[in-house]
């Protein structure tokens, strides 16, 4: 008896996922809960554990394919099970398929552990006709229609839950007189946008000739992937074509959307970090000894931003139509650079945490972001964000707002610079900070006062570190 492996729902608002990598090949043995494949969704990347122990019998959805949640992406054969048909025995099914009696074990492990969310947009999905000997799931109506039209249900592809044959499936089959494939139904009844199936073209090096076929995600035309010049003008000399990863595509879409909706204005201030630098220098060894975590500059900036957000609540907001949503929580998103992209995990209720709490929370989120272990809710519900181009040596940066925030703080490099204090030149640890803000909601006066509050908090730091 085979166990279905399904695309899990990785969060309430997630309707589809892309398989980025299979970690096992057909024929490989897998343990229950052993990582089986990697997926990428709108929110996060994650490793998906195996729903049961056995042998990976079949991969139904290959790498790079995007399918709705609950779609069967492969099957696992319980070890020692001899009733299994070979993976691709596609002989015509018998008229009356014998329902295979589910073993208790298979029944128990039929679905991988996943949040029981009942919210999902129904979407047509690619489905193969039921394999020989497998039980065909349909409905009383479908069985009646099959009988009336002399249709062998074994040859009808099912797009319902778990591959069930629904009314639309059999209607599509009958109206076409041939096996229906995904999205081929003429019925304008598709409940939701079609599952996007990105066409991953393998990276290729080639001399300049005809441009390769355009690669866009699932044929869905997104403004983020428009070209400003004719495509032909991009291909000359020698080149290599690299398909964007799902994460890259999401970042592109988000950035274009953010720039499209929010008129960005940028303000810059300069902060004297000398006091913080010396406090930190004094405390960091003891801090690390006591709490087993390094003390970085970031928690200070988070605390300073919190002070600013408390003083100027319009900075801690979202814009919904003509309503400004003032958030009562202060959740600070921190941009984390990854080898393969960028994530903004969120320190929830940052205003309720001290330096140690923020540092620990941040370390944990960053580490799990790099290990692809973040949960979707951990990158959601930020009310403000901070990004740190300084860590890569940037003097300052002008970041794009992470939606639906109305502001983002960009931190420049901290370096010693000569500054004028009381008409003499002193050497101080200086840092440029920039604030990008949505001018629909925030005006310059508020933005500069906010920045000044951040500066004031840092330059006159009073909270003990240990």
């Amino acid at each position: 008896m085979a166990t279905d492996i399904v695309m899990p729902q990785m969060g309430e608002s997630i309707f589809e996922g892309t398989i980025t990598k299979w970690l096992k090949k057909p024929g490989d043995k897998v343990e229950r809960d052993e990582p089986l494949f990697e997926i990428s969704t709108d929110k996060v990347d994650a490793e998906i554990p195996s729903p049961s122990a056995g042998v990976l019998k079949e991969i139904k959805v290959g790498e790079g394919k995007t399918v709705p949640i609950q779609t069967v992406v492969g099957t696992i054969e319980a070890v020692g099970d001899t009733t299994a048909a070979p993976a691709k025995a596609a002989a015509p099914a018998p008229v009356k398929p014998t329902p295979a009696a589910p073993t208790p074990q298979a029944a128990k492990s039929a679905a991988p552990p996943q949040p029981q969310q009942k919210q999902a947009a129904p979407a047509p999905q690619a489905a193969a006709p039921a394999k020989d000997g497998a039980r065909i799931h349909s409905s009383p109506l479908v069985r009646r229609m099959a009988k009336e039209h002399g249709v062998d249900l074994a040859s009808v592809p099912g797009t319902g839950q778990g591959g069930r044959i629904s009314k639309q499936d059999i209607e599509a089959y009958i109206s076409e007189g041939a096996p229906a494939t995904s999205g081929s139904s003429e019925e304008p009844e598709a409940y939701a946008p079609q599952a996007s199936a990105p066409a991953p073209s393998a990276p290729s090096s080639r001399p300049a000739q005809a441009p390769p076929p355009p690669a866009t995600s699932g044929g869905q035309h997104h403004v983020a992937f428009e070209s400003a010049v004719p495509r032909e003008r991009m291909y000359f000399g020698n080149y290599e074509v690299q398909p964007m990863s799902i994460m890259r595509q999401r970042i592109a879409e988000h950035m274009v959307a953010s720039k499209h909706v929010s008129p960005h204005v940028y303000s810059v201030d300069e902060i004297d970090m000398s006091k913080i630098a010396s406090l930190r220098a004094k405390a960091k060894d003891e801090f690390e000894k006591r709490y087993e975590t390094k003390l970085t500059f970031m928690p200070f900036f988070v605390k300073a931003a919190v002070a600013g957000l408390r003083a100027f609540p319009t900075m801690n907001a979202s814009l919904d139509g003509t309503n400004v949503v003032l958030h009562k929580e202060i959740n600070v998103g921190i941009a984390v650079a990854l080898d393969w992209g960028l994530l903004v995990p969120v320190i929830k209720n940052a205003d309720e945490k001290n330096i140690l709490g923020i540092q620990r929370n941040m370390n944990d989120l960053a580490e799990r972001a790099r290990g692809k272990k973040l949960k979707p809710e951990e990158v959601q519900e930020s009310t403000f964000s901070i990004t740190n181009p300084g860590v890569f040596g940037g003097l300052f940066g002008l970041p794009v707002i992470s939606q639906p925030n109305v502001g983002i703080l960009g931190l420049g490099m901290i370096e010693k610079r000569p500054v004028v204090i009381n008409d003499s030149i002193a050497i101080r640890s200086m840092c440029y900070v920039t604030l990008s803000y949505d001018h629909r909601v925030v005006d310059g006066a508020i933005a500069h006062q906010f920045l000044h509050k951040v500066k004031d908090t840092l330059e006159n730091w009073s909270e003990p570190l240990l």
């Binding site: 409905s139 009314k167 009844e189 598709a190 409940y191």
Partner: protein, 333 residues
């Protein structure tokens, strides 16, 4: 004082006003119609549904009683045997069970046992969502849907409330008439001036659709319509049917819709076990099995008494979001 006694122009009326108009007009029309209940006379009813009736029709036709539901129904039953057509008001429908014996053993059986039909109407405010707690929020319709010999009506709009109450008064069978108190003052609609009735035993299609059928009644009808609006934005076209009468059930309308949509969601505020949804599911399995393209889903209250705590009551009751979630699951089944 009710403004409508025949020939005024149309106007926006509340559910409450519609009930008042129906009783006023029926008492004007037929001198055999009387109103009996607790505080229906001088006080004008706990919800003021009988305000002004005492002044217009006098002590003999607007009768205040002691606090005894059993006595109210028993007296009404006797009155009906001598030619009157009493309307009995339960101050809160929760207390109708105090008259359970009178209703189920005498009123409901009279016609069968003694050829003595009892043309009485028992009506009163029902339902939750108004923080009434466990003794003032009940939906006891199913005790009576289970009782042969009765008719059970549970309307959702002022138009239907008036038309069905008038039809109930004129019906020769005992009729139980539930008025969802959440709707009393919350919804208004234009109803025609003058006399009209709405047939008992006929459901109404409130919204046409093709992907699934939502069957509901009373306050949940409005949640179901709200849900259907939201679902339409996601290209799920739900057909919404207002049952209006629970006994006898309009099987014809239900079956016709199921033939079209093949998927059914039943939404009611009554608790789940033994609710009308289970009965409808059984009827569909018997009469429309080969029309079903999915399981029959239910969205109902939880199987507990109605909680007093507002957050708990909110959790206990079905709502629009729950309807949307169930409908989506059904649509993609």
């Amino acid at each position: 004082m009710p403004s409508t006694n025949g020939h005024n122009t149309e106007s926006q009326v509340t559910f409450l006003e519609a009930i008042k108009q129906a009783m006023y007009e029926e008492m004007e029309r037929d001198p055999a119609v009387v109103l009996i209940g607790e505080d229906v006379g001088v006080y004008g009813g706990a919800f003021k549904t009988s305000e002004g009736l005492l002044e217009r029709f006098g002590w003999e036709r607007v009768i205040d009683t002691p606090i005894s539901e059993s006595a109210i129904i028993g007296a009404a039953c006797g009155m009906s045997y001598v030619g009157l057509r009493p309307i009995c008001e339960m101050q809160f429908i929760d207390f109708i069970v105090c008259a359970f014996n009178q209703i189920t053993n005498f009123v409901a059986k009279g016609h069968y046992l003694w050829n003595a039909p009892a043309p009485i109407v028992v009506r009163g405010p029902s339902g939750g969502g108004v923080h009434g707690g466990p003794f003032h929020s009940a939906n006891p319709e199913m005790y009576f849907v289970h009782t042969p010999g009765l008719k059970v009506i549970y309307p959702s709009t002022p138009y239907d409330a008036k038309g069905l109450l008038k039809a109930a008064v004129r019906d020769n069978n005992p009729v139980l008439f539930f008025e969802h108190k959440y709707l009393y003052r919350r919804i208004k609609e234009e109803i025609p001036a003058g006399d009209y009735t709405v047939p008992i035993g006929k459901a109404a299609i409130r919204r046409e659709g093709k992907h699934l059928t939502i069957l509901s009644y009373a306050a949940m009808m409005h949640n179901s319509l709200e849900a259907a609006d939201a679902l339409a934005k996601e290209n799920i076209e739900a057909e919404v049917i207002d049952l209006r009468t629970l006994l006898p059930l309009d099987e014809e309308t239900i079956l016709k819709s199921v033939k079209k949509t093949n998927r059914v969601l039943v939404v009611h505020e009554d608790t789940k076990t033994g609710g009308i949804a289970g009965e409808i599911a059984a009827i569909l399995c018997e009469k429309a099995f080969s029309d079903l393209d999915g399981p029959i889903f239910r969205v109902t209250a939880l199987d507990t008494p109605v909680p007093y705590s507002p957050p708990l009551e909110q959790h206990f009751l079905p709502n629009t979001q729950k309807v949307i979630a169930a409908a989506k699951e059904l649509a993609r089944y």
